[in-house]
């Protein structure tokens, strides 16, 4: 069972309190009614599904109930960071030690 840091509650909480909510930073086109079938497919169906660092959404369903974003390594399932919904996509870099960190956080 994962341990997930909720950026609103400011602490690590057990996975059972959370619900995964799919890929993050998938922007709903505006105006959505104008987009083509291809654009709709890209928005609604196509997913990055990366092997490695993934940007994803979680909701602290049985906690503060907030949606938030996370960066997680889908191979190790380790979280690099979590941040509030609406915040800009954080940049990640891998150190010489191979460990991924938020850019600028250093070792």
């Amino acid at each position: 069972m994962l341990l997930i840091h909720c950026p609103y509650c400011g602490e690590d909480r057990p996975e059972l309190e959370f619900r995964h909510a799919g890929e993050a930073h998938v922007v709903r086109p505006d105006p959505i009614s104008e987009i083509s079938d291809e654009e709709f497919e890209a928005y609604f169906f196509i997913r990055d599904n990366p092997k490695g660092l993934t940007y994803e959404r979680w909701r602290h369903m049985h906690g503060c109930a907030r949606f938030f974003n996370a960066v997680r390594d889908t191979v190790s399932d380790k979280f690099v960071t979590t941040y509030k919904a609406g915040n800009p996509k954080v940049e990640i870099e891998r150190g010489e030690d191979g460990i991924a960190r938020v850019k600028g956080d250093g070792q």
Partner: protein
């Protein structure tokens, strides 16, 4: 190829089984092939086998980054059935069931296809409506699927608890008698042996690192950890790793990869005669020839390539098993494992040509790919050989996500109202 039979076994027994040859060759990769299949699971090996057997295309390589049959083929609960609702699904899965029946003889390899019946339990009025809809549709599609009363269900599976006081009493069941199980490793090995014998090169421990495309955009071959290997056609059959391979070819996919766990109990004498599935209580169970109870759990909620999931997922499944079969609480979990299942938005597979000439993809089987192995391999081989889909897999095209012509079995099962 040395024919397998009881006589051959007896003869070998006399001399300590020293006469058996390798089940498949382990050749060095050639410079190029007519067709390269990426992924040596059941679907991939089967595709190579049918390319050679049915289409005479024998200059084929199956490239595998690990060991053959080591992906979802070797990590599932081996359930086989074809009682799907939609015509498209029923046709595809029943095509597979027809091939399962006789596969051992076709491959001269005992895959232990065991049609002991798959029983799906209905626990509320809504389940009954949904299952009846399946049964009627299956009947008119020529697929066997019959309705059982709780009593009949109990007769068919004695350990089942049909007490009216159960949390979700059994209100009936849909039984497909041709459904059952098979020996997963044997499926991979049997296809590998037969394909290898027909000239197919199976290249293990060879990871695809790139897909090379020519000026016209068409496929020219694959870069691998063992160098470039040319090919006129490439079929990607990489399950959970499909997105990664397709990205190399510049094709973005409507896929997400989730961990799917399963477990077995310690072996016991025969106690469980069939396969039982329950969507409402959410678990499925059968007993292997070895005597282990084979129990499938759900996927974890997050995407992952770790082949590992949380104990709470297994726990949730065992809750359901012990609810339906209270006699099993004293049984022990012996072994658990995880696979990486690739799931499409409509939870139906993709067996399709792609925007890239010469590139074909077979993926998106989610949690139910094993049952389709022979059928999937058979029609995918046809698609690659003829450069056009077989009538059976035509509806499972990649472009359905643009048109909206989805094949959504789960959505058709709808939600409790």
């Amino acid at each position: 190829m040395r024919k397998y039979s009881i006589f051959a076994v007896a003869r070998e027994a006399m001399r300590g089984h020293r006469g058996w040859d390798k089940q498949w060759r382990s050749p060095e990769p050639k410079k190029s092939y007519d067709v390269i299949i990426v992924g040596a699971g059941g679907h991939g090996l089967g595709t190579a086998y049918y390319l050679a057997k049915e289409h005479g295309i024998t200059n084929v390589a199956v490239i595998e980054k690990g060991w053959l049959g080591g992906g979802n083929t070797g990590r599932n609960t081996t359930i086989i059935r074809s009682n799907y609702l939609y015509d498209e699904s029923a046709a595809l899965y029943d095509h597979a069931v027809k091939l399962w029946d006789g596969l051992s003889q076709d491959l001269n390899y005992n895959v232990m296809y065991s049609p002991r019946g798959v029983m799906m339990l209905a626990h509320n009025v809504h389940d009954v409506q949904v299952f009846k809809r399946h049964i009627h549709a299956n009947r008119l599609n020529g697929v066997d699927n019959e309705w059982l009363t709780p009593g009949e269900a109990k007769d068919y599976c004695p350990p089942l608890n049909i007490s009216k006081t159960a949390r979700y009493p059994v209100m009936g069941a849909a039984l497909q008698r041709r459904g059952g199980t098979a020996r997963h490793d044997a499926v991979a090995w049997g296809y590998a042996r037969a394909a290898s014998d027909l000239g197919v090169d199976i290249i293990q421990n060879c990871e695809v690192t790139g897909v090379r495309r020519g000026v016209n955009g068409a496929v020219e071959g694959v870069e691998t950890s063992r160098g470039f290997i040319g090919a006129r056609k490439v079929g990607v059959v990489a399950a959970g790793n499909t997105t990664t391979i397709m990205d190399m070819a510049g094709v973005r996919m409507p896929l997400e990869s989730y961990p799917l766990q399963a477990l077995v109990s310690e072996p016991v004498k025969p106690i469980f005669p069939c396969v039982v599935m329950s969507n409402t209580v959410h678990a499925y169970i059968s007993q292997s020839d070895k005597g282990e109870l084979v129990i499938g759990a759900g996927t974890d909620q997050y995407t992952s390539y770790s082949q590992t999931g949380g104990l709470h997922i297994l726990s949730h499944t065992l809750d359901a098993i012990c609810e339906m079969f209270p006699i099993f609480t004293r049984m022990r979990m012996l072994r658990s494992w995880g696979g990486i299942v690739d799931v499409t938005p409509d939870r139906s597979p993709i067996l399709s040509k792609t925007p890239v000439p010469g590139l074909f993809v077979n993926c998106g089987w989610g949690t139910g790919g094993f049952k389709a192995t022979p059928g999937s391999a058979h029609v995918f081989a046809h698609t690659i050989a003829r450069d056009e889909p077989h009538a059976i897999n035509a509806p499972f095209s990649l472009d359905r996500f643009r048109s909206g012509r989805l094949i959504d079995e789960a959505a058709a099962a709808a939600v409790a109202h």
